[in-house]
Symmetry: C2
Subunit: 205 residues, 2 copies
């Protein structure tokens, strides 16, 4: 696409660098901004720049936070001895929205993935191991995605802390609530059967 | 979604105001920016702000342009007496990429749409009428979308300039090149038959 304006060309090129946004969508977004008051574009730009410049990560769990210790870690009502290990901040949001977990989190910042050049040292694993070795943690719940990379990461962390004798678990895998059995894939349905739960527990949501 | 940071919340809210982008996608985009060098966010913000502040519209055709007269209008090799009337700048880009049109454009900036509160005075219609009345234009090609609003706009402009005796046409509608007849909708196929072209012309692309 050839544009009649360098400014437009520039804006479209920058927006099109975002993941999942091609040049056509970028053009649509940019033209939308053109039709809106200038204030909206300024607010958008400022919000992005300020966020990128000023945002902090929690020193304890590596979640995004405005303070040195995030609200979840600083909350005295949360169980500080149960840690849920997740890949990134989106998983924290997902689990928080279930209101089923009252412990704290540890955000790894990714998964071990040699194909993408991500090794254990690129992730927040050492701080997790230290936390566990300090003895304040009683249970670790692994909530990484069940891919090859997720399993590798789980196993790597497991090897590092297995001697501490801490309780470790992974979140349950099985077919979704409300799903029909006949449409479930074999691996998931198989896990649902292997990891079956006592009848009375299954009614607690 | 509750966020652990006001800055993040702000950025996501602003991005989610763009059309077709919900809060989940906005979060994904914002977290992507977090993982990239800070320079990328700054470039994106600057490109958007600069575009919104400095961009101009061509005084003649209302296309987006860095100068007062856009490159298409200023090009002496283009036929200044044939005007193609389009809805917005995306249509200009689409027609330009066909390399089939050597005249100039007139960007209306929308269609007459009482449902959305857009009347003739909200569009660049008067400047088109003036251009036609000045006598420099020989032919007008209407290239608006064939919806109720597009047809209304076509007809409104037609009524304004029919007395000038200028040649007026609309772009041809018919089934796409390469399409199977059996899958075409009836209206489109009907138009293809009504507006059939002499055999020898159909081989010129």
């Amino acid at each position: 696409m050839e544009f009649s304006s360098k400014l437009l060309q520039n804006a479209v090129s920058e927006v099109a660098q975002l993941p999942g946004i091609g040049r056509r969508t970028a053009l649509r977004l940019v033209l939308h901004l053109m039709r809106q008051p200038q204030a909206q574009t300024n607010q958008l730009s400022n919000a992005l720049t300020e966020m990128r410049e000023q945002i902090n990560f929690c020193n304890s769990c590596h979640n995004i936070s405005d303070k040195d210790i995030c609200e979840i870690c600083a909350n005295p009502n949360r169980n500080q001895s149960t840690i849920c290990v997740v890949e990134d901040i989106r998983d924290v949001l997902a689990i928080e929205s279930t209101a089923s977990f009252k412990g704290i989190y540890h955000v790894l910042g990714g998964k071990i993935s040699p194909m993408d050049g991500i090794g254990p040292n690129d992730l927040n694993i050492q701080s997790l191991v230290k936390k566990v070795e300090s003895g304040t943690i009683k249970e670790i719940i692994f909530a990484l995605s069940s891919t090859m990379e997720g399993d590798t990461t789980n196993f790597y962390i497991y090897k590092q802390i297995q001697d501490t004798g801490i309780t470790m678990s992974t979140i349950a895998r099985g077919i979704s609530v409300g799903d029909e059995l006949e449409y479930a894939d074999e691996v998931t349905l198989g896990r649902s059967i292997t990891n079956r739960v006592p009848f009375e527990i299954s009614f607690k949501s």
